[in-house]
């Protein structure tokens, strides 16, 4: 192989070896950008393809239409609708699972499942065990993740309270469902495998448990290609409204699917925004390195040309130099991206339950990575290579003109008079190469920006959690009822020993509309003077919700394009289903969900259902917690129980694992950029000024003093870069926060000085580390030989 290497190629390899440190730094910067691209692209295809295949093979429903009690006979009408490929009426209810070794009640969703159907909608994926037999009503399937979290296996029994009646089922199999990829318990925001169960039971058992003989309470349907979903949803609402429909919705609004789709959108944003930043920095670094190389090799270039090498060969030689680095970056990035992809895919599988999630190396992305990094390399090297190509041999053989420096204006001279000579050298050098200085500043600024963004991200999620769990919702336990109850239930709950305070709420699902904009949501009724769950404004002060109007979260107001003082049309989806016009009287800050508030009293008045409540926020005595949990399991009206403290902890855990891991990676990448930029800058400056530095050493300057002349420049630029990076990071974060905010949760743009300080420390430490590498070179400087002649 080496026999085939031309002499020029051998020179190339030696040149590369000589600048190996710098080449490695650039390879890592390119690699970081490529890795993010490969990771996000790989995750997007893995998730997207897995999701698509899973949905299709398991006939994931396109439309859901919940109702209260609809006779099975309606199904024929529904199936006859234009565009319906299949429809099933099923029974879906809530229950509380009691496990012998778990004190707290566990919310469960119970869904009827027709084991005899030939092509069931939302077909289950059996992980373990077998399907239940239709003639054995006590046989059920259990959500695999929940079973694993509690070491339940087929053959075990499971007790569940539904409608106040305790049933014992036998688990015969563990299953996954396309409906519960992200299995979120009602009233929570984060999955917790141990805290939410899904059971699939036979029709017969469900009819008995929910008193729905010959009836269903939810239609799921798959549409045929080209079906008009909006029209179908309207028809379903028409058909089901006499039977207590709360409003049909499409797959887009199905919770599990929505989380997945939003996760994909986040990955896309990352994949789009991040890699260009890294490649931009790499372009600059390559530019500096190759420009320097061509400068030092002027004479050699002249010689090559004088001997008859063509411009093309000379240009090609230098392009190969950057191409080797680019290819190295692509390889490092691709492998790094695969590793990150696997890592992130592993974390995903803790939250998203797929029967399979294939994260396969995508060779397509390798070629793209190669193309991107080579384009970046070519862009970075373009001017330098053009310089090499156009250099005439005669000019090249002469040494370059000595550097010229200029005296500044009077003001600058006064400023200079305050500085010692080494500092003057620093300032003069910066002013002599302002473009390089500016680009170095931008490069370090990019590192600062990433670091700031990551820090703001942390601060924002902390703030979001803090506000949501310590300011807005200060309860310990949240309970929801099977259906609205009389206010007397408050006394019933209050009488449980250990419950200190009960704050009831009323919730009603409604369709908001403002002109043509419609939004399926709900109105929450709170006490006039709420304590545990409050509506707060931007400054986190309680908002007075008394009055006849609606107080909307800002996100909802924006969604509906409605302002304070305007009136919203509200179509209530339960009870008498009144059509109301309600004025908007205020706006509140909400970070989780898009709530709309009124007082319970006002809401009930509008609903013409005085004295009804849907659930309650509870404050409990921590010492009597287990006792309270025990009692709650026996309250028949309770459909779901959510433990706020655990939800909070879970949320934190999820953020540490998912975005937390990602932040950690990004911080490392920010360090890669800062070290790469500073190390390159310092190495180049060291080589360029080898002679001057040796002279300083001879003149009696210590290593540290000499290092100051060399590295002071870069530290100064790093300090200039901090405010630039802070602004860039803020901007980047604002962009991300906006792109990542959804109806499910809004990410606030929090600005905190200590976040900036933290980011600045990371950047400055990286700068110092890179400087230290070059400071070592100063220590090794052979001062006697350095004085012999210019290079």
């Amino acid at each position: 192989m080496s026999a085939n290497f031309s002499v020029l190629d051998r020179k190339l390899l030696r040149d590369l070896w000589r600048v190996k440190g710098q080449a490695a730094a650039i390879i890592f910067v390119i690699g970081a950008g490529i890795a993010l691209f490969v990771m996000s692209s790989g995750m997007i295809s893995a998730l997207d393809e897995t999701m698509r295949a899973y949905y299709e093979r398991h006939r994931f429903a396109d439309v859901y239409a919940p109702a209260k009690r609809a006779p099975n006979s309606l199904l024929a009408d529904i199936r006859a609708l234009d565009g319906v490929a299949g429809a099933e009426g099923r029974i879906r209810g809530a229950g509380l699972v009691a496990l012998p070794d778990v004190d707290a009640p566990i919310s469960a969703s119970v869904v009827s499942y027709d084991v005899d159907a030939s092509a069931p909608i939302n077909r289950l994926y059996l992980v373990e065990g077998r399907m239940p037999r239709s003639t054995y009503p006590d046989e059920i399937l259990l959500l695999d993740a929940f079973a694993k979290a509690h070491d339940l296996v087929p053959g075990d029994n499971l007790a569940i309270t539904m409608y106040g009646v305790r049933h014992t089922f036998q688990i015969v199999g563990l299953a996954l469902s396309p409906e519960f990829i992200y299995a979120l318990p009602p009233g929570d925001f984060v999955v917790d495998d141990a805290r939410f169960a899904v059971l699939w039971a036979g029709r017969e058992a469900m009819e008995a448990a929910f008193d729905l003989d010959g009836a269903f309470n939810e239609v799921v349907l798959v549409t045929s290609r080209g079906a008009n979903e909006d029209w179908l949803i309207d028809r379903l609402d028409d058909i089901l409204s006499p039977y207590g429909a709360t409003g049909a919705f499409s797959r887009d609004d199905q919770l599990s699917n929505r989380f997945l789709v939003e996760e994909l959108a986040q990955l896309r944003t990352t994949g789009r925004v991040m890699p260009p930043i890294f490649l931009g920095v790499a372009i600059f670094l390559l530019n500096v390195v190759i420009t320097r190389l061509v400068q030092t090799e002027r004479e050699q270039i002249g010689l090559l040309k004088a001997y008859g090498y063509t411009n093309r060969e000379v240009g090609g030689h230098y392009f190969k130099f950057v191409a080797v680095i680019a290819i190295g970056g692509a390889i490092v990035g691709w492998l790094g991206g695969l590793y990150l992809g696997r890592l992130i895919a592993g974390i995903f599988q803790n939250y998203y339950h797929f029967p399979f999630l294939l994260y396969e190396p995508e060779f397509r992305t390798f070629w793209l990575a190669l193309a991107f990094s080579n384009i970046a390399a070519a862009a970075g090297a373009f001017t330098a290579i053009r310089g090499a190509v156009t250099l005439s041999p005669a000019v090249a053989m002469r040494p370059p003109a000595p550097p010229k420096f200029k005296r500044g204006a009077a003001a600058a001279r006064y400023f200079f008079s305050l500085l010692d000579q080494p500092s003057r050298m620093i300032i003069r050098r910066l002013s002599r190469q302002p473009i390089r200085a500016a680009l170095t500043t931008l490069g370090i600024g990019a590192a600062m920006g990433l670091s700031v963004m990551m820090r703001f991200n942390t601060d924002a999620t902390d703030y979001m959690l803090d506000v949501s769990f310590n300011v807005i919702d200060r309860s310990d336990v949240f309970v929801s009822f099977v259906e609205p109850q009389s206010e007397k239930t408050v006394y019933e709950l209050s009488s449980i020993d250990g419950i200190i305070y009960v704050e009831p709420f009323r919730a009603s699902s409604v369709m908001f509309s403002n002109d043509r904009i419609e939004h399926l949501g709900s109105i929450t009724g709170l006490p006039a003077d709420p304590v545990l769950n409050r509506a707060v404004d931007k400054d986190l002060r309680s908002v007075d919700i008394r009055g006849a109007g609606l107080v909307l979260s800002e996100q909802l107001a924006e969604l509906l394009d409605v302002k304070v003082g305007e009136t919203l049309a509200v179509e209530v989806r339960e009870g008498r289903r009144p059509l109301l016009d309600i004025p908007v009287t205020g706006l509140v800050e909400a970070m989780i969900g898009t709530p709309a508030y009124m007082t319970t009293e006002a809401l009930n008045r509008q609903l013409k259902e005085p004295g009804r409540i849907s659930g309650a926020y509870l404050k409990i005595d921590p010492a009597k917690r287990d006792q309270v949990y025990d009692e709650l399991k026996n309250v028949p009206k309770i459909a779901g129980v959510s433990l706020r403290r655990e939800a909070y902890e879970n949320f934190k855990k999820m953020i540490d694992e998912g975005p937390g891991t990602f932040r950690y990676i990004m911080t490392i990448f920010a360090v890669v950029i800062a070290v790469g930029v500073v190390y390159n800058g310092a190495r180049i400056a060291f080589i360029e000024r080898h002679h001057d530095l040796a002279s300083l050493r001879v003149l009696g300057f210590t290593k540290i003093e000499t290092g100051y002349v060399l590295l002071g420049e870069l530290f100064l630029l790093a300090i200039f870069a901090l405010p630039i990076g802070a602004v860039f990071g803020y901007w980047l974060w604002a962009y991300f926060a906006d792109a990542l905010s959804t109806e499910l949760y809004q990410i606030p743009i929090v600005y905190r000085e200590d976040g900036l300080g933290y980011a600045a420390i990371i950047v400055l430490l990286s700068t110092i580390a890179a400087g230290a590498l070059v400071q070592r070179d100063i220590g090794k400087l052979d001062i006697a030989s350095a004085l012999k002649a210019r290079e």
Partner: protein, 248 residues
């Protein structure tokens, strides 16, 4: 930076040699490829003299100068500056020694391109305990009128005189000049040598000059002839000629 025994290092020490070397050797590389630059040099240099080192390229004179100046180390032997052994010094002490006592003038001037003439002088003055004013040093080499020019704006002879001003601004005990006229034409070279001789007389700094130009020997108190890494001959000159009488 710790100062280097300022109290114990007077500029004159009553006829005692300022440098004393015993069996100094310097070997570059190892094994068969080893180059013996110095092969056991024994030498005494009296304080305050102007000494010229003559000899062909590779004869070891620059190596000796570097060792005496504290920018290189002997492989073996002893090198005493007054009563202090340079061979035994740490890097740190050597730096302090250069800082306190030694002025260098190089063939290629080695000025900082980003500093003006005055600033180049101040660069050294700033790290010296009792420097002379930069303008005074420049006046000694007749360059006070060019003080605010950058090296790129000065001729070769002017640059070399700035380098000399820089070397003397710290009031050095010894002044080392490695081929100070090597890059200059004869006429300019004479102005540089004149400046060096004047400074040797006025400041009393022991001055060692390496040169290829044998005619320079006429201005020295002492001429050391080098060949093959050792001293071949030392000649003393009781009545040195003025530098401006020299030509080559």
């Amino acid at each position: 930076m710790a100062s280097f025994d300022e109290a114990t290092a007077p500029h004159s020490n009553d006829g005692q040699p300022i440098y004393r070397t015993q069996g100094v050797t310097k070997v570059y590389g190892e094994g068969p490829a080893a180059v013996h630059a110095l092969r056991g040099v024994n030498l005494e240099i009296p304080t305050g003299e102007l000494v010229v080192l003559l000899g062909p390229s590779g004869s070891g004179k620059s190596t000796l100068l570097n060792i005496l100046g504290g920018i290189d180390r002997a492989t073996d032997g002893s090198v005493f500056f007054q009563d202090q052994d340079l061979v035994a010094m740490t890097d740190r002490r050597l730096t302090a020694y250069r800082r306190a006592h030694v002025g260098f003038v190089f063939q290629f001037y080695n000025l900082m391109p980003s500093l003006t003439a005055r600033e180049n002088v101040e660069l050294v003055a700033e790290i010296s305990p009792e420097p002379m004013a930069a303008m005074e040093a420049l006046a000694l080499v007749d360059l006070d009128n060019r003080a605010d020019h950058f090296p790129s704006e000065l001729s070769g002879g002017e640059q070399q005189r700035v380098a000399i001003a820089r070397a003397i601004a710290k009031k050095p005990t010894v002044l080392f000049c490695d081929e100070p006229t090597g890059a200059l034409d004869s006429k300019t070279g004479v102005t540089v040598l004149t400046a060096l001789q004047k400074l040797n007389r006025e400041l009393g700094a022991t001055t060692l000059i390496i040169t290829h130009a044998a005619a320079t020997a006429a201005m020295a108190n002492r001429v050391i002839h080098f060949a093959d890494g050792d001293i071949r001959e030392i000649t003393e000159n009781d009545s040195p000629a003025p530098a401006d009488h020299i030509s080559w």
